[in-house]
């Protein structure tokens, strides 16, 4: 049984309230993280940006460019800011690494914190989240995807990778 994503969002929102109050800016990673960041901004306010990390992925030379890239959009000055990096699922940590690299190309933040809806463990890089909706363990080959319905409602979906 998967946790209720809306519940997790509320949980996360509570944890992030003090950061926003201190002036931290939200930056969501495309696409799930961007949706979450946008919802968080609705409830908590503050600055909002989005990152598409396609140009910073470490597996480009193996799998090529993602067929649908979205422009990154950070409409505020990153220099000296506290950035709350938002993603849906934290797994190997590679996406977060790419996002941090991209963030630094906008300026030098004072601090970066990471907030995720789900932390499924199995890190390949020394990266940890400061705010987490839920921690859970998945089998290798399983993938969690955040879905957003027409009403903007969040749901988690489990994918089984078909082994060949």
């Amino acid at each position: 049984m998967l946790p209720d994503a809306e519940q997790l969002l509320e949980n996360l929102s509570r944890q992030l309230e003090p950061f926003i109050a201190e002036g931290a800016a939200l930056v969501g990673i495309h696409s799930g993280g961007a949706w979450i960041a946008s919802r968080l901004q609705q409830s908590l306010g503050g600055d909002l940006g989005t990152l598409d990390i396609s140009f910073y992925r470490d597996d480009f030379s193996r799998i090529g460019l993602h067929p649908q890239t979205k422009p990154s959009n950070i409409p505020f000055d990153v220099e000296g800011r506290h950035i709350l990096l938002i993603d849906d699922v934290l797994y190997t940590g590679r996406t977060v690494r790419a996002a941090m690299n991209e963030l630094f190309d906008y300026g030098r933040p004072a601090r970066i914190s990471l907030a995720v809806l789900v932390d499924r463990g199995e890190r390949e890089l020394p990266i940890e989240a400061q705010a987490v909706g839920v921690r859970m363990t998945l089998k290798p080959g399983q993938n969690l995807e955040l879905l957003r319905d027409a009403a903007g409602h969040f749901n988690l979906k489990l994918h089984e990778e078909i082994s060949e």
Binding site: S54, S61, P71, F104, D105
Partner: protein, 321 residues
């Protein structure tokens, strides 16, 4: 008796592996390039105007025909993708020593370049090189003779889409020396592939190829009827050597008949945009008041040109095998 010929630009998965011509590319492929380019536009406005995508890759600009301007835009694009760039002006050196194009290319392959940006005075040169290098090295055509200048065609439609997002409801006029223009051919293919319903060419008969209508365009020989109600005007450069000769009597007469002035621009829709691939001949194909006027988008074209070339390079580099 037509042999079945595979599109030399695509790999066996149907992905773009060389960019040689707009012709033969599907609308989804063109759209992917344009959308990726849109993502790159913002990169130029950041503190660090670089992404690490092509780190460790070498892009080689091979210009058999000199063009500082075009070469520079490719160089900036490659550098913003973190690639190493080698510039080679072959125009004057090896070609005159009897070295063939493929000799030159073989030398560069031996230097382990990953991507060739090629300009050559002969139509088909980029195809020849792409056939020779296979799929290990990506080839981008930066202009071959009168045939194609696909990145220019792409940046032009990028610009059109930016100002006129509904491509399915546009009237576009391409004005000038279509006969000798690789830019015109690439623009026409890009526009028709993306669904622009009406593309016109306007030129004297001496500057149009025979059967130009087979490219899917409507042919006009006067500006008054050709520019009527158009949304986009794409001017072409008139090469100096064509101004006084067998094809045109004089630059003055050309300006009078086909030069874009405020008066002629008034025939188009009031919100029509004016484009030019550069470098412009002010007072020959375009009047300064138009080139610098409110409807001109000539400078944004240049800006978008870099993003489009970054998009092309990163898509190609990702499509191996």
């Amino acid at each position: 008796m037509r042999k079945s010929v595979n599109n030399p630009q695509l790999n066996k998965h149907g992905e773009l592996t060389h960019l040689l011509s707009i012709e033969g590319l599907s609308a989804p492929i063109l759209k992917q390039i344009l959308e990726t380019a849109a993502s790159f536009v913002g990169v130029a406005e950041r503190e660090v105007k670089k992404v690490p995508l092509l780190r460790g890759k070498t892009v080689c600009n091979i210009f058999f025909e000199n063009s500082t301007r075009t070469r520079t835009t490719f160089e900036i694009a490659a550098k913003r993708l973190s690639a190493d760039v080698i510039n080679l002006n072959v125009g004057t050196s090896s070609q005159s020593k009897g070295e063939t194009i493929l000799d030159t290319v073989d030398n560069l392959i031996a230097m382990h370049a990953d991507m060739f940006v090629v300009r050559h005075a002969q139509s088909g040169a980029a195809h020849l090189i792409a056939r020779h290098v296979g799929s290990d090295i990506h080839v981008i055509n930066a202009g071959d003779g009168r045939h194609a200048h696909p990145t220019q065609g792409l940046l032009d439609v990028f610009t059109v889409r930016h100002y006129k997002p509904d491509m399915h409801n546009l009237r576009v006029a391409v004005v000038g020396d279509v006969l000798h223009s690789r830019v015109a051919r690439s623009e026409i293919h890009a526009l028709t592939t993306l669904g622009v319903p009406e593309v016109r060419v306007i030129a004297p008969k001496t500057l149009l190829p025979q059967e130009v209508e087979k490219l899917g365009v409507q042919v006009y020989h006067d500006m008054a009827s050709g520019l009527k109600d158009v949304d986009v005007i794409m001017m072409l450069r008139l090469q100096n050597e064509r101004m006084n000769g067998a094809l045109l009597p004089s630059a003055q007469e050309y300006f009078k008949t086909y030069g874009l002035t405020q008066d002629k621009l008034a025939l188009a829709k009031p919100d029509a945009i004016v484009m030019h691939p550069g470098p412009m001949n002010r007072g020959v194909e375009i009047d300064s008041t138009v080139a610098d006027g409110a409807q001109s988008v000539i400078l944004p074209q240049v800006t978008y040109g870099i993003a489009v070339r970054m998009a092309v390079m990163s898509i190609l580099a990702g499509n191996t095998e």
